[in-house]
Assembly symmetry: C3
Homo-oligomer: 462 residues x 3
């Protein structure tokens, strides 16, 4: 069996001189608290504070980065999601080499060594040993969610929540007296995408929970506004919008109302769905301008590329594939209306790297309301983060970006993900120092700003 | 207050061995004259040779790279363009950190230290001191435009001019006996974009200045040809075309004439405008083939993304945003007609980096008439220049590129911009040497070619 | 005259520490056999084993990478293809500087030094000397094709063949008793692109060679299946599809049949051609699932951009230009039908780099039947190979790629091309080691897998 260690200089630049500078910059941010403004951890985890059930449920089953890789090499998704946990773990360990060069490998190594104290590399041979070792750890109080939250030094954790949620778990965390800060994020996708199969049921539930009838378009809008205020009252900082396109063209009230009525009757053309989606993005921007919730947009993913996978296993199974996005025309109505308004803040994410230097950096380097989100999803990885800084900084600078967000369901990977970003940014800044573009003092200040100042500012209540 | 110096090795590679090689290559090009074939400095500046009024007018107000960054972080564009110069300067200095990692920072530092001898970093604290120091310098004869032109060792400066200009300033420079070479460039955008608000007035002015009636399409063409000959007579080397798309499909004479007549009557469909724009690109190529002016094309920018900014402050305010360009189909009619003709020379610029390896390098590596222009506008920056060389060289080589062009209105930034390009190219060539792909003698020769030989050749009278 | 040598460390990383690691990794793969699964060498070359006629025919005339570069700088294509061989060679040598920084330079240097023992750099001065030296070498038995094949240590060479070929040369190689393994590849482009000018003649020839009448669509399908089995019987591993778009939407049998009948009558709309092309890609995938031939797809090239060149000189003259490709929607029907089927294997190539991180890596990191082909055509070069690994690995890992393929008509460049890929991959892996992402043992194992294991596996009979 092979020893597992973490290289203390991992991800820092190869050139020794630059690495020395990077190490100094990284030293200033390594231990800063984690500001996690855009995550997908379930608040129930911290409300109930139950131990994680087993290593497979902890590290494999809920992580579509991991299962998709194993499936791409011939493993059965059914086995990986519903099989015996120890058997799942064995398959994962036997496929350890598949993760070479991927961010999953970095996160998993960091979790194994730094969170769980493991010192053996996963492999077919070591699988059972590791399973037993991790299982034992998970039974200890130090590995319960709240204990880990404190050990991770998380300053604030934002979750992602349906407008239909009463946020009972968030309330229960507050009322428990535990000092961890866990705030909800308003994600209305299934209420504004009128072709979503659950949409009609959802608008009825929206009426129920808000107490505002949603049989008319104005009622629907008022009910959404009521939910946003409910979220604000529970500490929410932001909304989050996973849309297919970046279109934001508003409809007039009559047209919006007519499409809404058609949607209620279940008679929709694809054009109506697209038009209403664009309109609701504009409306959500208008509401953000009015109530101060920061608007997060991440368009451009074709969900459930393989319908057979979706039918059998549901969504979020690794078969969501990025597509090109046109931010320039798409965001224009929204930015023309609200982009210069100091009460509005919009953060945009993409997985279409072609838009970094062509569209997003030029837009963010002009409109005061716009900030660029961190490299997201498939791009939450060292080389992609580096490409982001290289493509964006020269046009938009550092201060039109909003700092790192981890965007994960995998609670134990949060420190690893923030650490990767801190290392990559330190390396990038170190090269600017070595190439005479920045002083070391400036670079260090910038690293600190990217780590804590900018996310705090970008998501500050407005 | 913080000392301001220039690192003599700035932008050279981080690896010490590669840096040593880069330093040697750069040493061979550092002091070469500046060949500035595509700039936007006003000829009047050198005709009248008046001192620059104040530091804000010199370095902030006319530079949309600078104002857009300050606006993106909440400064008022009104204040920055019409406010008290000292107050504008203060805001610029207070926002100095926003430019970290941007080319503006490199240019401004170079100008402050190398052109004006400043040794203090801009900041809120140092703003007034710097303002007074720069104001004093600007009153000295050594900082008048012609003195700077000579100090910058500019071999040739091309300006950008309307076909409606009589080129009086260019003539006045020639007649003054001052030896600086300042040549005009023929930029007919507002005469060929028939949906431009001033188009009708402009074709009337075209008739007036050319003495050729423009009431018919043949007259319009003849008048444009007359203006090109006027420009040639005043030393022009090139034309310059800022178009939205790269389309170049010609119309037959009848169709062109019908659209022209509709344009005169002010009745146009968007399709007619697009068709006429494409047609006129083809016509301009035809004229270039006939008269030898080099044709420069830079498509793919959505101008005035925020109409409110345009309405209040006019164009060129930092709200022009790139869009994708299709060069392969767009340029095909033009290249099929003239791309193999030794009398025709076309230089193409882009801000859509996706086209470098996919479209532009393959086209330039085949058609003898085509050369690739330098990384342009937002891409006139160290990392983007490097990406250009990396994406283009392997397919098109060095000798299908046309050398660096500074593309600036900011006269004092010209040496800084050429210096950045020389440093980046030296670093790129040094890596080819260190990686055994080029001899040092070849790399040095190539660097010299990129700096002076290729721009001289690419824009040579044909 | 300038000495010509090969730097033993060429293309390895600049940083000395990283280079040391890279050298060790490269040492483990440098001498591995060549697995050449996707080439365009004519089987006749090895069947007849005739000496190469002269240096121009060996290195210049058939290599469109070389002729296009010379043409782009003003040389005449007519002269380069039909002129006196010595004169062609002189022009090539005089233009040696044009290849600086290109992969052609690397391949040519490797061939000259390593294959032919030349020690003088090509130039106008050395041209005749080199011509005579190479001519003398070509007359020696050691430089006949089979001797070179053995010296190159080629484990397997796949050629590219028309379904209309009887594969007589392949059979003759087998029957000759020579142990070299040369297998055909089934490339049906001119039989499935119904707007190809030779299509009608080709389907008639298909009937003749298969003995199955092609007057009906079912007959046409059966005849294609018969040819695939003929190829399988002669050792074929794969099919190869050069299509314009990535569309794979199938038609129902009736619609396919109707378009087929229209094609036979020569009455086709562009929409019908596109629909039939997409349909046939789906059909070819279905056949691959059934017979086990690996399906190779490389879409997205606009062939013969300059029709005048095509008319005078024919196809493959350097005027084929890449265009954007939509793999996400295009491949969806094919992947939904066969992407999870263990009997199906598909390898996708592209020259549109924007799809690496956005489309191809996410798709290959999910569908078990999909592998990513090596950087292809214009991207078969050091910086482009490096960009491929950087853009793809973090999402798809190494094991969803299929190893290097040389894709060349130029027989003597095969070792050079594989060597470049081995060096670039070693350098990339070395950086992962130095940055603490991989152990040296893992990196070395991965390098070996990329060099021989993965191509053997990816193209293994299924």
């Amino acid at each position: 069996m092979r020893v597992l260690t973490l290289d203390d200089d991992r991800l820092l630049p190869s050139d020794p001189g630059t690495r020395t500078v990077a190490r100094e910059i990284y030293g200033a941010v390594r231990a800063l608290p984690i500001v996690s403004m855009h995550g997908h951890v379930d608040a129930a985890l911290l409300a109930h504070n139950q131990p994680f059930p087993d290593p497979a449920q902890l590290l494999v089953v809920p992580d579509h980065y991991v299962t998709r890789m194993l499936v791409s090499q011939g493993e059965s998704l059914e086995q990986l999601t519903t099989g015996d946990p120890r058997e799942i773990w064995r398959r994962f360990c036997a496929g350890w080499h598949l993760f070479r060069g991927t961010p999953s490998r970095l996160w998993l190594e960091h979790e194994l060594v730094d969170v769980f104290g493991v010192d053996i590399t996963p492999s077919a041979e070591s699988a059972d040993l590791l399973y037993d070792e991790l299982s034992a750890a998970l039974r200890r109080p130090a590995f319960q969610p709240r204990a880990l939250f404190e050990r991770f030094e998380i300053e604030l954790l934002a979750t992602t929540d349906s407008p239909l949620s009463d946020l009972a778990e968030h309330l229960s965390i507050i009322e428990s007296g535990w000092p961890g800060v866990v705030v909800p994020t308003f994600r209305p996708d299934t209420l504004v995408q009128i072709n979503h199969p659950d949409w009609q049921a959802n608008v009825q539930r929206l009426a129920d929970i808000s107490g505002i009838p949603t049989g008319t378009y104005p009622g629907y809008i008022a009910a959404l506004e009521q939910r946003r205020h409910h979220f604000l009252g529970h500490g929410a900082r932001a909304t989050d919008h996973g849309v297919f396109s970046a279109e934001t063209e508003p409809l007039d009230a009559g047209a919006a109302s007519r499409i809404y009525q058609s949607a209620l009757r279940g008679r929709l053309t694809p054009d109506q769905c697209d038009a209403f989606s664009a309109h609701m993005m504009f409306e959500m921007a208008r509401m953000s301008r009015d109530d101060g919730l920061v608007m997060q947009i991440h368009p451009g993913v074709l969900r459930n590329h393989d319908p057979a996978i979706q039918q059998t296993f549901g969504s979020d199974r690794g078969f969501d594939i990025p597509v090109p996005v046109d931010f320039v025309h798409g965001l224009r109505p929204l930015l023309n209306a609200f982009g210069q308004d100091p009460k509005f803040r919009c953060i945009v994410f993409t997985i279409d790297e072609t838009t970094y230097s062509r569209e997003l950096a030029p837009l963010a380097g002009a409109y005061p309301s716009l900030r660029l989100g961190a490299p997201w999803w498939f791009l939450d990885s060292p080389a992609a983060m580096r490409r982001f800084r290289e493509a964006v900084t020269e046009t938009a600078g550092f201060y039109n970006t909003s700092g790192f967000v981890d965007d994960t369901r995998a609670f134990c990977s949060i420190p690893a993900r923030h650490d990767v970003a801190r290392r990559v940014d330190s390396g990038y800044l170190a090269e600017l120092v070595v190439r005479g573009q920045l002083g070391l003092d400036e670079a260090t200040e910038t690293a600190i700003d990217l780590t804590v100042t900018l996310p705090r500012l970008a998501y500050a209540p407005r």
